[in-house]
């Protein structure tokens, strides 16, 4: 059954969209990532204009993050103080990001920047996570302690602990500079606007490795701040570029919110390291696909402006 999307201006099968929302929602709930890094390329792949895919993706993530964060709040897995700091940085970053997005769109380079950003961030984070979590899994199997605690201790002598404006974050059991979460929030905010992602795939590793937060609160806290940053991006994209498709959002989130609930349950049954190995493999898979597409000779070297250069 096909449905015509009013803003994307294409006709798409309704069940395809529901299914995509469900699968991505499931992964989102399981890993605590917005799922946007899967959703945006998928939407572009089925023919949604990249600019609409990015803006609508952000809107859809608002919904899947809300149900995710409620589930995590019940288990007291959200550090609201840390979330607030990340959020302040995120709002400033995403506002700059939407402005940058419009400028790149006018230059005809937005597609390339979107894809290059994916390749760059996904490859770095995917490999780091894979190596680290695979090593942890390996050690555990051979009977050693998990690397988690040792890792954190080592970080206490790092540069990030010499920064001013130190704050205490009780739930995360941390005493670190407020500049760290603000900076992480800002950088991720820019990516939310340009890549149409929740930014969880950067936020989660940054919280674990850079801020040194315990893994248990990382997912809930990142989802918490993602709600507000993606909401900011949705409103700004709608206002400046008119690229938010409400009908597309509704279909995606109908599948998405349900998938996220099941995903959150499935995530509790898996161990942290296994979860991270899986996520790393997925991140690397998307990255390799996008990278190849950029390097292969395109079918047609020419494209029309309205196509967005895809």
């Amino acid at each position: 059954m096909n449905i015509y999307l009013p803003i994307a201006e294409i006709s798409v099968n309704m069940f395809l969209l529901l299914g995509m929302g469900g699968v991505v929602g499931f992964l989102s709930g399981m890993f605590g990532v917005g799922g946007g890094f899967m959703m945006t390329p998928l939407l572009i792949f089925i023919g949604v204009p990249p600019t609409v895919a990015v803006a609508t993706g952000a809107n859809q993530i608002v919904a899947s993050s809300v149900s995710g964060v409620i589930a995590h709040t019940r288990r007291k897995n959200v550090d609201f103080k840390m979330g607030l700091m990340l959020l302040i940085g995120g709002v400033v970053g995403s506002t700059s990001g939407v402005w940058l997005f419009s400028a790149l769109k006018a230059l005809g380079q937005i597609d390339l920047v979107i894809k290059l950003s994916y390749v760059l961030f996904l490859s770095v984070i995917g490999s780091l996570m894979f190596v680290e979590s695979a090593r942890a899994l390996w050690r555990k199997r051979r009977g050693f302690n998990t690397s988690g605690t040792a890792h954190k201790r080592k970080d206490h002598s790092g540069w990030q602990h010499k920064l001013p404006f130190k704050m205490r974050f009780r739930r995360s059991k941390l005493y670190i500079s407020a500049l760290l979460p603000l900076g992480v929030g800002f950088v991720v905010g820019i990516l939310v606007a340009i890549m149409g992602v929740g930014g969880g795939f950067i936020m989660v590793p940054a919280m674990i490795y850079l801020l040194g937060m315990p893994t248990s609160v990382v997912i809930g806290t990142s989802l918490f701040q993602i709600i507000f940053v993606t909401a900011n991006v949705t409103i700004l994209q709608a206002a400046t570029n008119q690229t938010v498709d409400i009908v597309l959002t509704l279909l995606l989130l109908l599948g998405g919110v349900i998938g996220a609930q099941f995903g959150a349950r499935a995530g509790m049954k898996l161990q942290g390291e296994q979860l991270r190995v899986l996520l790393a493999l997925m991140v690397l898979g998307v990255c390799v696909k996008l990278g190849f597409d950029l390097m292969l000779i395109p079918d047609d070297l020419f494209s029309l402006g309205s196509d967005g250069g895809a």
Partner: protein
């Protein structure tokens, strides 16, 4: 009214075409009349492309050419080059006055019907469209212009917005004809014009222009208009819907 038009046309034709080659059968006129089964292509929620039927009749035998032309706009054509291993847009040409949609139907072989000059003058077929460079692209070489223009045609044909080949105008008997046009789901909205030409002895002897409106209707139109006119409010509503949906889902799932 009709007879007045007819007689005026006859007089004009007699005046202009009393050449030896012209076959003038006394009072027989060269009128062509055509109509669309629907003047509106309505884009609603279930829109997945639409067929429009054009039917008409000719006075006397002849060939028929039908053109459906969408509103004109600027088109940016970009060319990719390999830059540090990746393919990136590196060059662009902007054409102005390019129709967003262009389809043609003929009752026979167009090249046998009318000479090249006529095809060019009346822009019969995408390959005969006039090309205009926008002010920022003025001064490029003819070769480059042709290269980019051909790319535009290729892309439009691939998207089903320009006709790759002329569709068939079918004659039912000698004077009644019909032509079917398909409008793909990616059709841009606007006022389209349908040109109907009657060809006799390699001359276009009569023509008619009919408008066709492609527009969004119902919920589609309301959402689209709201997103354009009240874009900020639209953004806020989009967020509120998402928040409500997320909350609702978690409430439903907690009870289970």
């Amino acid at each position: 009214m009709m007879t007045m038009v007819l007689s005026r046309l006859v007089w004009c034709l007699l005046f202009f075409f009393t050449l030896p080659s012209q076959d003038v059968h006394g009072a027989e006129s060269d009128e062509i009349v055509a109509a669309l089964d629907d003047h509106v292509v309505a884009i609603d929620t279930s829109f997945s492309g639409s067929k429009v039927l054009l039917f008409g009749a000719t006075e006397g035998e002849g060939d028929v050419i039908v053109i459906v032309r969408g509103p004109s706009q600027d088109e940016v054509v970009r060319k990719k080059d390999r830059i540090m291993g990746v393919w990136a847009n590196n060059d662009e040409v902007v054409f102005s006055g390019t129709p967003v949609f262009y389809n043609i139907a003929t009752s026979g072989n167009l090249k046998e019907m009318v000479p090249a000059t006529t095809r060019q003058r009346l822009e019969l077929g995408p390959d005969y469209l006039n090309t205009y460079l926008s002010s920022q692209s003025k001064g490029i070489s003819d070769l480059k212009k042709e290269e980019f223009w051909n790319a535009l045609l290729r892309s439009k044909k691939r998207d089903g917005l320009y006709a790759s080949e002329a569709t068939q105008v079918k004659f039912l008997g000698k004077r009644l004809f019909r032509a079917d046009f398909f409008f793909p789901p990616n059709i841009p909205i606007g006022t389209y014009l349908v040109y109907v030409y009657l060809v006799k002895d390699k001359n276009v002897v009569s023509s008619q222009i009919t408008p066709l409106f492609v527009s969004k209707i119902g919920a589609e139109a309301k959402i689209y208009d709201f997103a354009r006119r009240h874009s900020f409010a639209y953004g806020i509503i989009a967020v509120l819907i998402a928040l409500a949906a997320g909350w609702l889902a978690s409430v439903i799932f907690r009870k289970k």
